[in-house]
């Protein structure tokens, strides 16, 4: 039944956007994490989406979106001179992740909107499927 495929497709979007929201939450939570070396510092994580197109134009059951990978992106950790900090290295530096909270917030809103869109799609497909089931009654 094709209308159920529509729901499956939209639910792949729900999973993908949930992953995106999770990485954003992780980035925001770690915006103020301090570490002693640049290598240990937290780096912003972002999911990479890719389209699932195995079955283009077939029965449509394999369309959708998937999270390909989660990459560590963003700039180099910011070096900050703070000799009194307990995590400061021998030169008195600490390292903070290069996370822009405004960017993360904008990203979060985009993810939330896409999530809503997918839910709307599922709702419409559900209504149509229910109406199809009552055909002739």
């Amino acid at each position: 039944m094709s209308l159920f495929d529509s729901m499956t497709i939209a639910s792949t979007a729900l999973s993908a956007q949930t992953t995106r929201l999770n990485t954003i939450a992780s980035n925001m939570a770690n915006a103020n994490t301090v570490s002693s070396t640049a290598a240990d510092a937290y780096r912003a994580r972002y999911p990479v989406f890719s389209a699932v197109l195995e079955d283009v134009g077939g029965d449509g059951s394999k369309l959708g979106v998937k999270v390909d990978s989660i990459v560590e992106a963003g700039g180099e950790p910011r070096q900050e001179f703070n000799p009194t900090h307990p995590l400061a290295d021998e030169n008195g530096f600490i390292y903070r992740p290069d996370i822009d909270t405004a960017t993360e917030m904008a990203n979060m809103m985009s993810a939330a909107r896409s999530f809503q869109n997918a839910i709307e799609t599922i709702n419409t497909a559900k209504q149509l499927a229910l109406r199809t089931l009552t055909l002739g009654k």
């Binding site: 094709s2 209308l3 495929d5 529509s6 497709i9 939209a10 792949t12 979007a13 993908a16 956007q17 995106r20 990479v48 989406f49 890719s50 389209a51 283009v56 134009g57 077939g58 029965d59 449509g60 369309l63 959708g64 979106v65 985009s110 993810a111 896409s114 869109n117 997918a118 709307e120 799609t121 419409t124 497909a125 209504q127 149509l128 109406r131 199809t132 055909l135 002739g136």
Partner: protein
């Protein structure tokens, strides 16, 4: 069976194409944030032409056969050309996809209503009420 197929008119084919189109549109909406994704849609007019030109109603008698309607829609999938290109190569324009999705859902319901009244009419005729 052919008699009942004829009595139901073109609505079943329309519903099948509409459902197929709905899948493509939900895939577009699902991939609104996917880099390099190209939005697709069914050319409804030619899909209908393919469906109505089929000499007899299609039945899946073999595992590799398509179910009715899918072939018509599948043969007429095309890529959308966007008004504005986005930097990541994605051609989905969410507002357009939403409008098309809603439009498609409404038209699906129209066909559903037509089919519904046909079935009711047939039933009344069978019962002789």
């Amino acid at each position: 069976m052919a008699g009942i197929d004829n009595a139901l008119g073109i609505s079943p084919q329309v519903l099948a194409i509409r459902a197929q189109r709905m899948n493509l549109l939900s895939a577009n909406i699902a991939n609104a944030d996917t880099p390099n994704y190209k939005a697709q849609d069914v050319d409804f007019a030619s899909a209908m032409r393919t469906a109505t030109n089929a000499r007899e109603p299609m039945t899946a008698r073999h595992e590799r056969h398509f179910a009715i309607g899918n072939e018509a829609a599948a043969a007429n999938v095309q890529y959308r050309s966007p008004d504005q290109l986005s930097l990541n190569g994605n051609t989905v324009e969410p507002h357009k996809e939403h409008a098309a999705f809603m439009d498609n859902a409404m038209r699906y319901q129209v066909s559903l209503n037509l089919l519904d009244s046909r079935i009711k009419g047939l039933r009344a005729a069978i019962r002789g009420e």
